[in-house]
C-alpha cells in the first residue's frame, strides 16, 4: 500500500512526461558558436593581459620581483636618512654667516668722535648644541658663533 505513488507524484510524473518533449529542444549550432565566442571575448577582456592592452601606458601596472621592490624601498629609506642627517651638519669653521647679528650689535655701534678704548679684544666663540636620542641618532643640531669680551 505504501508503495503506491501519491496523487501528487502521479501528477508530477505526468507533467514531466508531457513536458519531456521540451528537453529535446536544443540550441542550434550557431547558438553554440555564439555562446563560446561571448565567453572567450569576456575572458579576454577580464584577464590581466587583455585589460592591459585596453589601458593607456601610464595606467598600466607592471609586475616587479619582490627582491627588486625591497631593494628599491631600502635604498629610498637610506637616502632619506642620509639627507635627514645632512640637514643637521655643523657649519664649517670660518663661516660667519650663522653669526648672530644681535650679539655683535650688542657691543654697540661706535659713536662719532669717540675713541674706542677697550680693556680687551672681543673674541669669537663657537657654540654647538646637539640633541641625541638613543637608538635613533641626532635629532637636532644647533651651531652659533658669539662675540665674547
Amino acid at each position: 500500500m505504501n508503495d503506491r505513488p501519491s496523487d501528487q507524484e502521479l501528477d508530477d510524473l505526468t507533467i514531466k512526461r508531457v513536458l519531456s518533449s521540451l528537453r529535446r529542444l536544443e540550441p542550434p549550432l550557431e547558438s553554440r558558436v555564439a555562446n563560446r565566442a561571448a565567453i572567450a571575448a569576456e575572458i579576454t577582456r577580464l584577464t590581466p593581459s587583455g585589460r592591459a592592452q585596453a589601458l593607456p601606458f601610464w595606467r598600466r601596472r607592471i609586475a616587479v620581483p619582490w627582491p627588486v621592490a625591497a631593494t628599491a624601498v631600502a635604498m629610498l629609506l637610506i637616502l632619506s636618512l642620509i639627507s635627514f642627517q645632512g640637514s643637521g651638519r655643523v657649519a664649517p669653521v670660518g663661516d660667519t654667516s650663522a653669526v648672530g647679528r644681535d650679539e655683535v650689535e650688542a657691543v654697540g655701534p661706535r659713536r662719532p668722535n669717540e675713541s674706542i678704548a677697550v680693556s680687551k679684544t672681543p673674541a669669537l666663540a663657537y657654540h654647538e648644541t646637539t640633541t641625541y636620542l638613543c637608538g635613533i641618532g641626532p635629532l637636532r643640531s644647533e651651531a652659533r658663533y658669539l662675540l665674547e669680551e
Binding site: S21, P27, N35, L46
Partner: protein, 182 residues
C-alpha cells in the same frame, strides 16, 4: 554532473576549459528557459550568449559553494529575461518561430509528430503567467530542486511550492483544452 570545488575555483580563475564544461552543461537549459518564454529562437540565442557573458563577469562575486552554481546561472538568466521584458513591455509569442527549431536525428514523420507535441506543450506553458512558467520549466524540464528555484527566482521555498501547485493544475487544464481542440 555535480560541480565540485575545483570546478568552481577554475571558473573563478577564468580558465577557458572550465567554461567549456559550463557551456556544455547549461546552454541547453538556458536556451529552453528563454525560448519557452517568447518562442523566438533568435532572441533565445542572443539571451543565452548574453547570460554566459554576464556569468563570466559575475562569477567572481558568486557566494556559496559549487552546489549554488545552478541557481546562480538561472538567477542571471532571470535578470536577462527581465531586461528584455522591460525593453519590450510584454513577452513576444511567435508560434511560427517554434516550428523553425531543428530536431536532428529523427525521421520526418517522427519529427513532425514531435514538433506538434512540442507545440501543444509550448502553447499550454505559454498560457501560464510568470513566474509560474519559469517555476514549472525549471522544476519539470530542467529538474531543478526547490531550493535552486527559490534562490534563482529570489522567492521563498514556500512560494515555489505554491506556484508548482497552481501551475500543475493550470497546466492540466490547458492540456485538456488543447486535446479537445485537437
Amino acid at each position: 554532473m555535480t560541480p565540485d570545488d575545483s570546478f568552481l575555483r577554475r571558473l573563478k580563475e577564468l580558465q577557458p576549459a572550465a567554461f567549456e564544461s559550463l557551456v556544455e552543461q547549461y546552454e541547453g537549459p538556458l536556451y529552453r528557459f528563454f525560448f519557452c518564454d517568447h518562442r523566438d529562437h533568435h532572441a533565445a540565442q542572443e539571451q543565452t550568449a548574453e547570460t554566459f557573458a554576464q556569468l563570466v563577469r559575475s562569477l567572481q562575486t558568486m557566494q556559496g559553494g559549487p552546489e549554488q552554481l545552478g541557481a546562480f546561472v538561472f538567477g542571471i538568466a532571470r535578470h536577462v529575461q527581465r531586461r528584455r521584458w522591460r525593453a519590450r513591455k510584454q513577452p513576444n509569442l511567435s508560434i511560427d518561430s517554434a516550428l523553425e527549431v531543428p530536431d536532428p536525428g529523427l525521421s520526418p514523420a517522427t519529427e513532425a509528430a514531435e514538433v506538434e507535441q512540442r507545440e501543444l506543450v509550448l502553447q499550454a506553458l505559454g498560457r501560464l503567467e510568470q513566474p509560474l512558467r519559469n517555476v514549472m520549466l525549471m522544476r519539470f524540464v530542467e529538474d531543478c530542486s526547490l531550493e535552486e528555484i527559490a534562490k534563482a527566482l529570489e522567492m521563498p521555498v514556500g512560494t515555489v511550492k505554491s506556484h508548482i501547485h497552481r501551475g500543475r493544475a493550470r497546466l492540466q487544464e490547458s492540456l485538456k483544452v488543447e486535446n479537445r481542440q485537437k
